[in-house]
């Protein structure tokens, strides 16, 4: 794994190398010089320029003595032949010739004393030679003289020998000194070489120590690294720039199912699912965690998470190192969690729906009972029976109110609280309410007043029915907890028109701080300590809050115990943007089993100028569509006998005049999978309940394909529809947490963050599909504004003109939503 790099040479390294080379050169030169000197010396010692000089010097004198004796002997015995005298002379002569002519004695001969002696000897020899070479008589006569003469020559030769010995011993001393000097020089040179060698050895030893230490460190580092990689749970793979595998740890062998030897013959493509990581690893460096899909050697695919970093390998080639984690289990856990969450939410929904149906079914027979009782009291009943009937009627009325309360809650829970916005005069509405309640106020000595009329509020856009219900509830509460005091209802336009604040103020007993927090919760009654019996379900303020929220507003309270309370409502009551581009005068078939919904929808459709034909269930709707040609069909999904999905399928598959008519589905089901099913059945668009006027208008335009001609209208209508939605609905979020636990909730929240980050940062293959998926996740966690924006993106997916704007708005909304989803904030909920 560890890769050595070829480091460039540094200046000190170059200098060191130069010094070593210089030392080596010096050493070689020294050795050569030494060799040459030694060779010369050896050559001089091997040869010599002379034989035994002392022998030659002394031998001359010896021959002179021999000649002298021979001459003396011959002189005394005249009968003895002279051959021996002549022989001795010749020998003496040849000896002197050696001294006279031998190159060895040349230096010695320059000595003046030696030269003088030699001259004397030579003259004697020359003189004697004549006699020796002459006749015997002359020689014999000269013998005594020759003998004494040779004695003189002997003494000369002795002096020459002594001089010569002095001369040659001096020469020999000089020679020895020269040899000694050479040897000293040799010794010095050798010492120098030894020192040089020593220094070199030390340097090499030091170099060796350093190298050894570096090698040890590298070895330790490598061992540690390998231990880490071997024991790592995550797979680590190393590839070259072309994706060929260069290394892998045991975890990688296990994860991809290849023995090491085979793993190293694979490429990245072999390890990844087809099409995954098409550009290889290198571009992913520094991108953090990336999710992808990998392939096991047995062909199974599994999801992975990987992080990549680029590095430089041997010889400077680029390599990629990837840490890979198998997230199959995590992905499976996420999916399971999502399923259980969907199931739980669907269960909650159906429970609420059941409650709504039950309440609805209870109200009908109760109405029958009360109506009949009313009829009965008009018959001639006696007083006692009249009294009993009165009790029954009051009890019945009470029961009816309770049932309606429950129904109101249930409808809100089931998402069926229909809000019908229309132009209204808020001043008049308040005045009318105050007037109607004045009588009831007087019962407890209270006075009820309306605030000053505000001109700007004379024409606002809202649901008068719901407004009246909420205000009545608040006024009723105010009067109930006030005696001999006053109540005031006033309205104010905040920051221009969009936002209107309505206030109901009383001078009653007030509410303690502890109670303020829970006053809007269901089934809360505060009259336990109050002496009067204020019967009620405790649902009033809970319903009021749901209604206000359904209208896109907020409700709150401020109070001082003993001094009074102030309930306020803030609502967006701006008139809708002009839907001029929306189509008018369509023939619409409205298929809806719920009477109220049908009523509401009809009202909205008629307000847009359409002609409405009603059908109360799927079968009736199908029959109408077969019979007549409509421009648009609005189809509820959940209906008895034949539901909206089946009806749609039948209309589409039939050959009736409306078989190709756009169908707008209405559903309370927010599940993306469901919506996809509706579309598959043939619905052109799907609208979620509760239905809002603006949205219905826009959807109709979309369904008929007219938005393309006026995209501005649709885009402009988006903010007004969505401004009022909370970024995070604490109720939805809270209920989800209660249902699945805080930990799972946190995981879901993180999953949403991750999913959304990817959605807004990566390119899409099918933006509609992706937006749809994310919208589902957002809705589940109560990110309502984001949910709505993403739905808009999904709707705009097919429309290149509006898609960028929709995505922009969704991204902006996500930017606002994200901080609320971060753990430090989210956990405070």
């Amino acid at each position: 794994m560890a890769e050595a790099t070829a480091a460039p040479r540094t200046l000190p390294q170059i200098l060191r190398r130069g010094a070593i080379a210089l030392v080596a050169l010096l050493m070689v030169t020294g050795i050569l010089l030494l060799g040459r000197t030694v060779r010369t010396e050896l050559k001089e010692l091997a040869t010599t320029g002379s034989d035994n000089i002392e022998w030659s010097l002394s031998q001359a004198e010896v021959e002179a003595i021999a000649f002298s004796q021979e001459a003396l002997i011959a002189a005394r015995a005249p009968s003895v032949p002279l051959d021996l005298v002549r022989l001795r002379f010749d020998l003496l002569y040849s000896r002197v010739v050696v001294l006279q002519q031998g190159p060895v004695f040349a230096a010695m001969r320059t000595d003046p004393q030696v030269a003088e002696h030699l001259t004397k000897v030579q003259s004697f020899l020359d003189e004697t030679a004549t006699l020796v070479d002459g006749p015997d008589a002359q020689l014999r006569a000269a013998l005594p003289r020759l003998s004494s003469g040779s004695d003189a020559v002997r003494s000369d030769l002795r002096d020459i020998a002594l001089q010569g010995i002095a001369h040659f011993s001096q020469t020999s001393d000089t020679q020895r000194e020269e040899v000694a000097r050479t040897l000293r020089e040799l010794a010095l040179l050798t010492l120098g070489l030894v020192v040089l060698l020593g220094v070199t050895v030390l340097a090499l030893m030091r170099l060796n120590t350093v190298n050894h230490r570096v090698a040890e460190t590298e070895h330790a580092t490598r061992a540690r690294l390998e231990a880490i990689l071997t024991t790592a749970l995550d797979a680590v793979i190393v590839t070259d720039e072309r994706g060929a595998l260069r290394g892998g740890n045991p975890a990688a062998e296990r994860m991809f199912g290849y023995p090491r030897a085979i793993l190293l013959t694979r490429t990245l493509t072999d390890l990844m699912a087809p099409g995954a990581l098409p550009d290889g690893l290198a571009p992913l460096s520094g991108c953090g965690l990336i999710e992808s899909e990998a392939r096991h050697s047995n062909g199974t695919m599994f999801p992975i998470e990987l992080s990549v970093s680029n590095a430089t390998g041997r010889n400077g080639t680029p390599i990629c190192v990837a840490f890979v984690r198998n997230i199959a289990e995590r992905a499976a856990a996420d999916a399971a969690l999502r399923r259980s969450r969907d199931t739980a939410l669907a269960g909650e929904q159906s429970k609420a729906e059941l409650l709504a149906v039950m309440s609805h079914e209870m109200r009908t027979p109760l109405n029958g009972l009360l109506g009949t009782l009313d009829l009965m009291r008009r018959e001639g009943l006696n007083d006692r029976m009249q009294r009993y009937a009165g009790i029954m009627e009051r009890s019945g009325q009470l029961l009816l109110r309770h049932v309606e309360d429950v129904l109101g809650i249930a409808q809100a829970e089931a998402g069926q609280m229909a809000i019908v916005a229309e132009p209204l005069d808020l001043n008049a509405l308040i005045a009318e309410l105050v007037e109607a309640q004045a009588g009831q106020a007087a019962e407890r000595g209270n006075q009820l007043n309306a605030g000053d009329a505000v001109p700007a509020l004379a024409r606002v856009w809202g649901d008068p029915l719901r407004l009246r219900q909420v205000l009545l509830n608040l006024i009723g509460n105010a009067l109930k907890f006030t005696e001999n005091g006053s109540g005031t209802v006033e309205a104010e336009a905040l920051d221009d028109l969009p936002l209107v604040e309505l206030r109901v103020i009383d001078t009653g007993i007030g509410i303690t701080e502890a109670n303020l927090a829970r006053i809007f919760e269901d089934f809360v009654t505060l009259d336990a300590s109050y002496r009067r019996n204020n019967s009620g379900t405790g649902l009033g303020l809970g319903i009021a809050r749901r209604m206000v929220r359904a209208m896109g507003g907020e409700i709150g309270v401020e109070s001082e115990p003993g001094e009074g309370s102030l309930f306020w409502i803030r609502l967006p009551l701006a008139p809708p943007t002009d839907a001029g581009s929306a189509p008018h005068g369509l023939r619409v078939l409205l298929v809806e089993d719920n009477q109220i919904n049908r009523f509401v929808a009809r009202g909205m459709l008629e307000r847009d100028g359409h002609t409405v034909t009603e059908a109360i269930d799927g079968a009736e709707g199908l029959a109408a569509a077969e019979r007549e040609r409509f421009d648009l069909i609005v189809m509820d999904v959940s209906m008895p006998h034949l539901d909206g999905v089946s009806a749609t399928r039948n209309i589409r598959s039939g050959s009736g005049p409306s078989a190709a008519t756009p169908i707008l589905g209405l559903t309370a089901h927010a599940q993306p999978a469901e919506v996809a099913r509706f579309r598959a059945a043939g619905m052109t668009e799907v609208l979620h309940k509760p239905v809002l006027q603006g949205e219905l208008t826009r959807m109709i335009a979309r369904a008929l394909g007219t938005t393309a001609t006026a995209p501005g209208a649709a885009a402009a209508s988006l903010p007004t529809a969505e401004e009022t939605l909370p970024l995070i609905d604490p109720q939805i979020s809270g209920e989800l947490r209660d249902a699945i636990g805080a930990q799972s909730h946190a995981q879901l929240r993180d999953a949403l963050v991750g999913e959304a980050k990817r959605f807004f940062s990566q390119p899409h293959e099918d933006v509609g599909h992706d937006a749809h998926r994310l919208a589902g996740s957002a809705a589940v966690l109560g990110a309502r504004a984001l949910h709505r924006h993403l739905q808009s993106v999904e709707l705009a997916a097919a429309d290149p003109a509006t898609l960028p704007r929709s995505l922009e708005l969704a991204a902006a909304c996500w930017k606002d939503t994200l901080p609320l989803l971060l753990p430090e904030h989210a956990d405070r909920h």
Partner: protein
């Protein structure tokens, strides 16, 4: 040096053919050299005596060299010691070589079996007299090989040579 070895080898190769001593005629002129001792042939009492012509007949050789006793290059003419020993059938033992003044040295025959040393009778074309280191001079080609420039060789360079005794164990 190499030349010496080669010549030695040649000599050794030729040795068996010459090992047997030749018959020697008695000397006619003045006797220059007397060889005594264990020799294969004699012509004068118990010795082999040679005059100048007899030596010449053994095969005259010439070389030029400087010596430490003379001035400048010298041309020597003589017979090789090797040729003399072959004539006398001497192949081992020692030679005791003596001069007129009784100077003498011992030379192992092994070391004489090279073509180098010459028993010279003439120097620079002149017959050598007793006064001029004659009548015979055992000279080596000192310039041809530095090995000859040693005191041992100088000591063996016997001049005024007149006797050789062959000693055999």
């Amino acid at each position: 040096m190499i030349l010496r070895y080669v010549m030695t080898l040649v000599a050794l190769a030729l040795w068996p053919m010459c090992a047997t001593a030749q018959e020697l005629a008695p000397p006619q002129g003045r006797i220059l050299l007397t060889v005594t001792g264990t020799i294969g042939t004699t012509n004068h009492e118990d010795a082999a005596a040679f005059d100048l012509d007899m030596l010449r007949d053994l095969g005259a050789e010439t070389f030029e060299t400087t010596t430490i006793w003379t001035d400048g290059p010298q041309t020597f003419e003589g017979v090789t010691l090797l040729a003399l020993l072959q004539t006398l059938g001497v192949s081992d033992g020692e030679l005791r070589i003596s001069a007129v003044n009784d100077y003498s040295i011992d030379l192992p025959v092994d070391e004489a079996l090279s073509a180098g040393p010459l028993i010279a009778w003439s120097r620079n074309g002149q017959i050598m007299t007793l006064r001029d280191k004659g009548p015979l001079w055992l000279v080596y080609p000192y310039d041809a090989d530095t090995a000859y420039q040693s005191e041992v060789t100088y000591a063996r360079s016997v001049w005024q040579l007149d006797r050789i005794e062959v000693l055999r164990p």
